[in-house]
Symmetry: C2
Subunit: 216 residues, 2 copies
Amino acid sequence: MKQMIPIPTIKRFPSYLRILEEEEKKGAEYVSTTTLADALDLKPIQVRKDISSTGINGKPKVGFPVKELSEAINHALGWDNVNSAIIVGAGNLGRALSGYEGFNAYGLSVAAIFDNDEKKIGEQVSGLTIRDIREVRDYIKDNHIGIAVITVPASVSQETADYLVDCGVRGIWNFAPKDLKVPEGVVLQRTDLATSLAVLSAKLRNSISSHQDETI
Amino acid sequence: MKQMIPIPTIKRFPSYLRILEEEEKKGAEYVSTTTLADALDLKPIQVRKDISSTGINGKPKVGFPVKELSEAINHALGWDNVNSAIIVGAGNLGRALSGYEGFNAYGLSVAAIFDNDEKKIGEQVSGLTIRDIREVRDYIKDNHIGIAVITVPASVSQETADYLVDCGVRGIWNFAPKDLKVPEGVVLQRTDLATSLAVLSAKLRNSISSHQDETI
DNA sequence: TAGATTGTTAATCGATTAACAATC
DNA sequence: TAGATTGTTAATCGATTAACAATC
């Protein structure tokens, strides 16, 4: 396997992309690591180290080619290929996510949303029809769905994940406040509000000093 | 300041709490680090190290007292005191978050939701009335609001944060896909879907191997 | 008692940061 | 040319993991 990029670097990549896009809009052809670092409250040396893992070379005194760099980062993230995803769970969060425009920029195409509640099935949500969960297996097969976004209640999240894995998804993005188990070979990513809030709370409790952030 | 608990440990604390709660429901008085580790796909040694930072002592061969440990973790997170928060931005995500029951368990009380859209103001959202953003300064003062949850569009997120800080909030929880700047002394935490998705995408791209997760 | 589990100190690992030569 | 910035190697820092004695 190709030289793996460290997770902390991966996590900073989307922020770099946002700044690069701004610079591109301004018409900048090159951007220096000091510019990127200032915009993101990072140190230039760290930005340089991160960028080095893309393989892109810069010009001393000038910086890095904006276009080339953002393409390389997009590629490193796999955002230059579209991944088809489904959302499972049409509650508040599932609906909010299905309406999130940003996903397309990240190479994620939300193809459908599912629920098991008869009352919700058939309803329209940001251009998608809520489908019956009993159709999900066929849907995954027929539409080459690789990613399932789980927004069901925590109490049923493990069985939901098990079922989706059995249906063939390769990646699970779990929003339920529960630590799921998935078999070897399936990629699991969680976005846990509790974790995020924990960091915020702990910092507030100590407060004064350390206002530096992080993500999930 | 008291001995700071490492951020990675803080991030694991909510998961421990969930398992401890399950154990408590089962009637367990003590829980071992092997049990916790198995439930969360961690190593016992790491769980022991994490727990050691709470100051709670266990009994060899028996484990740690469930009740006492979960109280200590809640305290370390500052979840034993209620923090009043407001949500700013009544879009899909703001609405979803305002309806999230779980926050109360984390010592977060969502007191109100604000927006600047005349059409939304006055509307009811999960028991809260959407208020006019022009009332936010007084509201923060009168209700001792410490935390603002930002769910406005990225394009106006910085000015929103600036304003809220000026109004006196001590903590900002930012959901907009933008890297905000806040003055020294204000705590900033972001929950960025792009970051989370970046990790998922990168893992999928490499795939095979490394299905271990992380959070935002 | 025997053995599982705790608690602590030391080793390892990996990311961040520093130092500095190379260069447009 | 002078100086800002890159690129690379080494040092530092902090978290994870290993080792092992203590103990219910």
